[in-house]
Symmetry: C2
Subunit: 263 residues, 2 copies
């Protein structure tokens, strides 16, 4: 069992109730990463489902849970022949923290009927760059769990040269030996710095809700995260993340609605 598997473990207490322990190692400053928290919820939801894979997940981030014990409550809504629907709620100290709707199904490894190519050609791995290590006092413990190698212009904001467009692109893998799976993908779809940084915005950019679709089971190796946005207006922005596996296949698609930080 990897560290990530352990940090996302959900132990069945009874029909519909799972004990989890939120790990402080996935924090982005104070709050915990939303993708990590989704992975925790999905462990419980998939365990409670007759199917193997979370093909669709929508999460509303009501509150910011703290590290430590919590529970996932799973309410099955309907199970059909190809898919099952459930509601899952992350609860801490009796208070709902994240509300989610999850559709599960079992994906098969078949060739696609139609597959659109990636809209962005990434530079080679060796031409991509890391972010500087965060200061220990920043509370960015998430950085130690994963490796991100960025398409250089998309982190130009760090040195005062934002591209002027909401975008962020990077290669991604876990820091420990761990092949990507649907739970790693849940982390990956929310792992990039907010795309608005590249458009000149700064500060904490809280996710309000996030929906992602698992489209295929990822091959071992690096993932590619392609992040973009279409509109920044009235304090809101959209962040779209497309995830490709090492074979170039589309494995996940996500869109989140988030608030522009005041910073």
């Amino acid at each position: 069992m990897t560290k990530f598997d352990e940090a996302t473990q959900a132990i069945r207490v009874d029909d519909g109730t799972y004990d989890v322990c939120i790990d402080p190692g996935y924090a982005i400053g104070g709050p915990l990463n939303g993708g990590y928290l989704m992975a925790v919820i999905l462990r419980a939801a998939v365990d409670a489902s007759p199917f193997d894979h979370p093909v669709s997940t929508t999460a509303q981030f009501l509150k910011a849970p703290a590290p430590g014990p919590a529970q996932v409550k799973v309410e099955p809504l309907k199970a059909g022949r190809t898919a099952a629907f459930a509601r899952a709620t992350l609860v801490q100290d009796g208070v709902a923290q994240i509300e989610s709707l999850i559709t599960t199904a079992t994906l098969n490894d078949v060739g696609p009927i139609y597959a659109e190519k990636s809209a962005h050609d990434m530079p080679a791995l060796e031409d991509c760059v890391k972010l500087p290590d965060p200061k220990p006092e920043s509370g960015m413990t998430l950085s130690a769990q994963m490796e991100l190698l960025f398409d250089p212009p998309t982190i130009g904001w760090l040195t005062g040269n934002p591209t002027g467009r909401p975008e962020s692109r990077a290669y991604f893998r876990m820091a420990e030996p761990q092949d990507p799976d649907p739970y790693v993908l849940a982390l990956a779809v929310d792992a990039l710095p907010p795309v608005v940084f590249s458009a000149g915005a700064r500060g904490w950019a809280p996710t309000v809700d996030l929906t992602w679709h698992l489209r295929a089971l990822p091959a071992p190796g690096w993932l590619t995260l392609l992040g973009s946005g279409r509109l920044i207006s009235d304090g809101w922005f959209d962040e779209e993340v497309e995830v490709r596996d090492s074979a170039g296949r589309l494995v996940a698609q996500a869109r989140q609605l988030a608030r522009v930080g005041r910073g």
Copy 2:
């Protein structure tokens, strides 16, 4: 009150319960259009919210409700200073038909900080084409409620010339005099023929879940619906719909996960 306003009316019975009447005029063959059903749910959810607009909606289509009386149950989850979260369920004869998570907020008419242009230039309105009127026995009553003028290649599938890519693009307005509003947008994001028809697929393509974001309040006039998909695989496809208003502004973004029809 327009016919659409009436068909989507939600009458408050008590805290969290609304009576609705599902109108047979929004059917696509047997089942009712998912966008219409979302509009009904949103009427109740917005009425129960301290805010004015449904900025994010995710719906899981558990069952196909029948025309006639139904109820929307709204469960508020959290209300903050800028947004409120709620769960809303469409119930008929005591059985949940559609489960949804809705985020409400109040959008202001401000200029955007960043706005990406549309990825597709549409032909002029006069160069776009209607679908032939459906046969009365088809049960496609939805067609009479709205006008769709298609970018001609994207309905080439109708005459045996699919483009080979999942795509569908059209101008949209209600058939009766009715300016677009968030409820019309809920209908619009699910109003196109399935994008997979253009990739050669046929038959009923049921939506499993759909998420859409309201990004701005639409100007009066025609809407433009730009539909596309990235992957058709293992019986699943994604349908992305971007909605622009008559001023060219991005007003809604949607993605649904659906099943490829056997037909």
